[in-house]
C-alpha cells in the first residue's frame, strides 16, 4: 500500500537491519574465510547503498506527489533499486568513496609519487549476487512478509507500531 515518507524511511531501515545486515555479514565472513575481521568491502557496499536510499526516499516521495494516487508500481521500485545498486557499484569502481577501506591500503603511484587508492576487489558479479540476496528477500518482505507479523503496518503507510489510542 502507499507509504508515507516516514513510513518509507522506517521500513527501509528495518529491512536493512533485518535482512541486509545478516546477509552482508554472512557474505563478509565468507570472504574472509570465516575469520575475524570480516571482509570490509561488502559492509561498505551495503552501508553506502543504504545511505543512498535514505537520501533518495524523500526525492521519490516528492516525485510521487505529481501522481494522483501518490504511488507507483512495484516495478518502478525494483527499477530504482537496481539503479541505486549500479550507482553505488560504479562509485566504488571509480574510487569515489574515499572512506572505503581499500583506500587505507593505498599504495604509492610509482610514476607520480602520490598515494592512490586501490580499486576495491569486489567484482560486479559478486556485488550483484550480494545485492540480489538482499533485494529479493526485501521485496518479498515488502509484498508479503511484514504484514503477516505487523497487522497495522500497511495502514500506517509503512510505519511500525500501533495506532495511537485515544480514549
Amino acid at each position: 500500500m502507499t507509504p508515507t515518507l516516514f513510513g518509507r524511511l522506517q521500513t527501509r531501515l528495518a529491512l536493512y537491519l533485518l535482512i541486509g545486515l545478516p546477509v552482508t555479514l554472512a557474505i563478509a565472513f565468507r570472504a574472509s574465510g570465516w575469520s575475524w575481521p570480516p571482509a570490509a568491502e561488502p559492509c561498505w557496499f551495503i552501508a553506502t547503498l543504504f545511505a543512498l536510499g535514505l537520501v533518495l526516499e524523500p526525492v521519490y516521495f516528492q516525485m510521487q506527489r505529481f501522481r494522483w494516487d501518490q504511488d507507483w508500481p512495484f516495478a518502478f521500485f525494483a527499477f530504482f533499486s537496481v539503479m541505486e545498486f549500479l550507482a553505488v557499484y560504479a562509485a566504488m569502481r571509480l574510487d569515489w568513496l574515499p572512506y572505503l577501506p581499500a583506500c587505507l591500503q593505498s599504495r604509492l603511484d610509482p610514476a607520480r609519487q602520490v598515494p592512490v587508492c586501490q580499486v576495491p576487489s569486489l567484482t560486479l558479479a559478486e556485488a550483484a549476487a550480494h545485492f540480489g540476496l538482499v533485494f529479493v528477500p526485501m521485496l518479498i518482505a515488502l509484498l508479503a512478509g511484514l504484514q503477516i507479523f505487523m497487522v497495522r503496518w500497511r495502514y500506517r503507510g509503512g510505519q511500525f507500531g500501533r495506532f495511537p489510542v485515544i480514549d
Binding site: T2, T4, R65, W68, Q70, F74, A75, I148, V151, R152
Partner: protein
Amino acid sequence: MMPIEIQVRDAGGRTLARFRLADEGEYQIGREQAKVEIPLVDGSVSRRHAAVRLSGGRLFVTDSGSTNGTRLGETPLGKHWYEWLAGVPLVVGIFTLVYEPGDFAEEAPAVETDDERTAPVPRAGTADPVPWLESEFPGRLFARDTVPVAEIVASGKLAGETDYLAVGGGIGSFVWVDHLRIWGVPQDRIRVIGVTASCYEKWKEYCENSQIPGRERIRSNSISTPDNLWGFPGYALRETWREVKGGDIRGFRHILKVFGEPTLAETYTPRADDVYAALDREELRIGWRQMLTFGRAIALRKTDDGRYVLAYKIPADQAGDSDRDRYFLARVVQLATGYPTTRYLDDLQSFKRQNRGSNRVVNAYEEHEGIYRALAERGGTVVVRGRGIVASRVLQRLHETRQRNKQIGVLHLMRGPVEAGAAFDLARRAVGYDVEMQPFNWPKACWGGEYRRLLEAAAPEKRVELLSAWGGTTTAERADWMAILSAGKREGWYRIYFGEVKKMRLKNDKVVTEIVAKGPFSETLDLVADYVIDCTGLIADVTSSPFLKDLLARYNPPRNKATGSGPDQRLAGIAVTNQFEIAALRNGPGRVYAAGVVTQNGPYAAVDSFLGLQYAALRSTDHLAAARAPGLRRMGPLRSFVQWLKWTAGAKP
C-alpha cells in the same frame, strides 16, 4: 388527497407494519422485497402475490396469480380488479391487511430530505423490508435514554446477552467479528443480528444488478481481502497459484499485473466469485453461522448497567406461536447496516410516481435483466445516465447485448464535459472519454498513505475540503471498456449528450428525457428512448433507515458534514472517533462502534470499501484491546503470525 394507510396484521391481530399509499397508482404486494412496494416476507406469500391500485381516492385489489390465493373478506380474488372497502380484511398468506376510513397518516412523510434536488423513495429491498418495522414494539419501554435491565427481563422477551453484538450482518459486521475472533474472543461471546445467512448476500445482489456477475472482476485490489485481515496472500497470488497448479502457466499474469499496476499494467482486481468463495471459507472457519441470529434491528438503547439493549424482530417462520419481538443485551455494539436506501434524483422520482408500474426507467442497482432481454429481442434505444463505474458496466452489458441485436442505440447522458480532472497538491486526475479515471473510488494514498494521515488529523471543515478534492465520480481505466466506446462512436450506435435533465415523461410508449444543454445557448433537447438506466448511484442517507433515524433522534450524536451536489453528493454519516466509536453513545464501560457508509465523510475516506471496513475493524478492535475488553488479547507480531498460520491451515482461530 389524503394518503391511505394500510395496516399489516398477523394472525393474532397484532399490527406488524403500516404502509402509506400517498400517490395514485399501482402498488405490488409480494415476497420479493426488491421488486414490490408492499413486501410481506413469508413463505405463504408468492413473489408477486397481489396488487393494490389507488385511484380517485378509492382502493382496488387484484390477485397476481399467486400460489395460495388472495381473499377479500370471504371472496377469493381472481384476475379482475375488486374494490377494497374500508374495514374489509384482505388476506395474503398469513397476513391480514386492513385499512379504516380514518386510517389516514397524520405524520409528515416518513423520510425527510435534506436537499431539494434529490428525495428518497422508500423502497423495499434496498430499503428495509418493511413488514417488521414501524410496529408498536418496543414501544414505551424505549421512550427514554436509559432503559432499566430489570424491565427488559420482566418483559419476557430477552433472547440473550453477549459481550459483542454486531448489527447488520453484512461484510462490515463480518470483518469486525473476524477481527474479534482473531484477537481471541470466543465464538459464544459474539452475536450477529442480520437478515441474510451469508455476509455477502446484499453485496452480491448489488453487484449482480449493476452488471457484475460472479465471473466478472470487481473494483478493489488484490490485498483488499475481507476474508483475510493480513492481506496476504492476496487474490492475485491465490488466482495465480490456482491456475499454475492446474497447469496453466499464464496464471503468472495476475502476479505480474500487481507488479506493474497501475502504470505498466491494468490494475488487478479479483473475480466476484473468488471473493464470495473466500468469504464462505472464512465464515466457516470463524463460526459465522453459529454466531448469527436472524433479525431486523428496530432500536438500540443504553441500559442502566452500562450496557446496551437491542430491540429486534425475528422472522415469522422462526417465531412459531410466539410474537417476533426480542431483546438482546450487549456490552459492545457495532453498527454496520450498509446503504439505508436507494435515492433517486428528483426527475426520476417524479417519473416513477407518475408512471407507477412502468419498467422503462430503472436505477442500475435494481434488478433490470428484463431490459436487456427485451433489447435483445426487439432492439431499441437506451439512455444511460451517469459516468461512474456502474455506467461503464452497463455500457459493457449493452455492448454485449448488441452482439445479439444490432438495432440497439445508446445515448449516454452526462451533466457536462470534463475538461480537466480534479487537482490536489501537485497531482491531477486523468480524464478520458469525459470521465475521470482512477483505479479505485479514492486515490490510493487514502487507504494507508499520506492522505489517510492528513484526513485523520484534519478538523471537520478541513476534512470536507479534502474529501471534496479527492472524491467525485470516477471509473477505472479499462482497455476493453474504452474500446467499446470508441467502436460505438465510430459505428454510430453510441452518442454522448451533455446537459441537465429538466423532466422525464412517457409519450407514445417512449421515455422522453428533456435536457437543457450546457453552454451559452442553453438549448433544450428531447432524448427519446425506450429505456432509461440511471447509474448515478446509491446515495447514503442515514436518516432513511428507521433504525438509525431512531438512534439519531434519541441520542443526537454529531453528524459529519455533507459534500458535493447532484450525483456526486455524499451525505453526512454519523460522526465517529478515529477509532470508529460513536462517542455520544458511550455508556460507562459500554461502547458503540460503526463501520461502512454509515460513517461517511468521517476520519477515513474509503469507509465503504473492503479495505475501509478492515481498517475500521482494526481500529476499533485495537481500541477495545487497549481498554482490556473481555476476551481480547493484544495483537503483537507473534500472535499475528500464529493466527496467520491458522488461517492458512483453515484451523479455528
